[in-house]
Structures are given as C-alpha cells and as structure tokens.
C-alpha cells in the first residue's frame, strides 16, 4: 500500500481524490460500481450531514451520499 492511499472516509470537505480500489463485496460492491465508483473515478467530498454521517460526494456529475461503513471500504489517493 502506498503512503498516499487512504480511506474515502478521511477525505476532507472540498477536497478531491481518485478511487484506487473498491473493497466491498456482493450487493454493496455492485451498487457502488453501478453508481460510477470504479477505479480511477474522481470523487469530491462536498458536504457532511449534521451528524457527520452520511457524507455527500460528487461522483461523475451526481451528488451521492455514502455512509461511512461504505466509504470506509473505498481506497482513494489525493490528486492535485
């Protein structure tokens, strides 16, 4: 694992990152892939719900809210 790799959960608001790996399995994995979260996809964290979970992300032109249990499974790296 490279140093720059981290969980999507840790992406600060307003920052962008690139998907490296989707670790979930089964139906959850299918769903995330269907929503456009495939390796090399650019994701931006755009806002947090009042409780801090879920978090809304901009993914391929659409805003999608992910629970931390889902975003934790997604490994990303910073790009800039």
């Amino acid at each position: 694992m490279s140093v720059a790799e981290f969980e999507l959960t840790c992406l600060p608001m307003g920052k962008i990152a690139q998907v490296i790996h989707v670790g979930s399995e089964g139906a959850t994995r299918n769903r995330l892939l269907d929503l456009g979260l495939v390796p090399s996809t650019i994701v931006e964290a755009i806002r947090k719900s009042p409780a801090g979970d879920p978090v809304a992300y901009m993914i391929r032109g659409a805003v999608i809210a992910l629970r931390s249990e889902e975003s934790r499974q997604i490994k990303v790296r910073s790009i800039n």
Partner: protein, 266 residues
C-alpha cells in the same frame, strides 16, 4: 396503467395482459433508465398520457403503460421503474430487470441524462448485453448545453453500435426521431449490432466454456452469452428467475417463442 409486484408471476400476468389487450399492439417497447433522467417525461411525451412527474428518486414504483400510433402502427410503451443496474438490488430494479430480460420487448429504449451521461452508460451497456434491440435516448440536452456539455451522439452511435437519439422531452424535441428509431427497430426489424463488451481473458475463457451448454439449455430463449455471465456471477435470484422462465415456457407458448429473436453476435 397497472401496478406490478416484484414477483415473477406479476411479470407473467403483465405479459398475458399485454397479449390480450383490446388494442392490438404491433410492438411492445420497454422504457428504462436511471432515476431522474426524465424517463416519465419521455413516456408522457410519446403516449400523451399526463402522468404526474416529480423529482423524487426512483418515484416510478409501478409499471405504467401507454399506447401511441406512429406510421399506422400501434406501439405499447412500458415505463419501467428507474434503475441504475440490471444486477438487481431492490424490488424496483428486479421489476425492470425481469421485464427487459424475460419480457422480450420488441425494443428497449434507455433514457440517459445528458448532464451526467457517464454514469448512465453503465445501464446502457448492461441492456446492450441482454438485447441487441437497444436504443439510447440522450435526454436533457438543453440542460447539458447550459452546463457547457456537448454530447457527440453520432460518435456515441459509432462506439456503442446502437441508435442514439438526442432529446429535450420536456419541450417535445427529438420525440419524432425517437418514434422513427423505435419503428425501424421494432416494426421494420432493422438489425442492430451493439459492439459486444469484451472482458479480460480469464472471464472470456470461462464464458466460452459455458456458452455452448447454456445455449443448448436455453434453446435460444435468451441470450446465451448473457446467461453464461449471470451464472458466473452466481446471482441466485437471477438463476432462480431464469429457471422459472424456462419452466413456464414449457407450459405455455410465451411471447419469446412467438416472436423469435436473433442475436447478431452469436
């Protein structure tokens, strides 16, 4: 218009009703698409039915249908629930999947949102794997233009190998072209050859190993390459559904046999 449960018996009842409908349909068209792509607006624009349209994700929870006439042919349009995928996760998606996969429509129109077309193409590719008779309608072209997004529809047509129709369904732009495209595919039976998706070598080898046996079992009822891939997925609900349809087919003559379907890349 009628409601439909996720049960496969519902699909069969629905198909039977379509068959016995008082207005004889010359073709049955499925309308699919991601949630919030303006699918219901396309449906209303084509059929003239004034369905309520709102902005709730996946709000179309029942299977609506409507008719229109074009070039003296009666076309029945089935408005499927909004879905991101045919690898069904929810009851809504299962209804859409079952109709496209097992209802054997004369054509399937996938409505895509031009403002975020990338995410919509996933479903397009999945539908293309099930049926060659796929038409892509790129809706909300005006909103895309406002966001400085231009869609190269003829380029898409070349890459995908299926008809691609740009539209602004709200303003009835592109709907005549869409009706013409549906006519060509569903009535004139113009063959479409979607470019098949080629997976990596190990998957392709596995598909090849299965496909002949699957072909024998299915007797041409559904696309054997697609069925082989679903077997490799190990999706239990899909396999159950397939078995159910094969059994059903032995008891009564289904739409699938009456029409006959050719797959151009097999």
């Amino acid at each position: 218009m009628m409601g439909l449960t996720a049960q496969s018996s519902g699909i069969h009842a629905f198909l039977e009703e379509l068959n016995q409908s008082s207005v004889k349909a010359d073709a049955i068209i499925a309308l699919a698409g991601n949630p919030n792509t303006g699918k219901s607006t396309v449906f209303n624009g084509l059929t003239g039915l004034n369905q309520h349209t709102g902005n709730w994700p996946g709000k179309t929870v029942i299977l609506a249908r409507g008719n229109y006439q074009h070039r003296n042919k009666n076309i029945t349009l089935v408005d499927l629930p909004g879905t991101y995928s045919l690898l069904a996760n929810s009851a809504d998606e299962q209804v859409a999947r079952d109709f496209i996969c097992f209802g054997n429509p004369d054509a399937t129109v996938v409505v895509a949102d031009a403002t975020c077309i990338e995410r919509n193409l996933n479903l397009v590719l999945q539908v293309m794997e099930v049926t060659t008779k796929t038409i892509l309608c790129v809706n909300l072209i005006d909103e895309a233009k406002r966001k400085n997004i231009a869609i190269d529809c003829s380029g898409l047509e070349k890459i995908l190998g299926i008809p691609v129709i740009p539209a602004v369904a709200r303003d009835k732009v592109g709907l005549t072209e869409l009706k013409d495209a549906i006519h060509k595919v569903a009535i004139e039976k113009k063959p479409i050859c979607p470019h098949p998706l080629i997976y990596n070598e190990s998957i392709e080898n596995a598909i090849n190993q299965l496909q002949n046996d699957v072909e024998t079992l299915l007797q041409g009822k559904f696309n054997s390459r697609w069925a082989a891939m679903r077997l490799l997925d190990g999706d239990a609900t899909m396999i159950t559904e397939m078995l159910h349809h094969l059994k059903k087919d032995q008891r009564q003559e289904p739409l699938a046999i009456r029409r006959g379907e050719a797959h151009c890349y097999e």
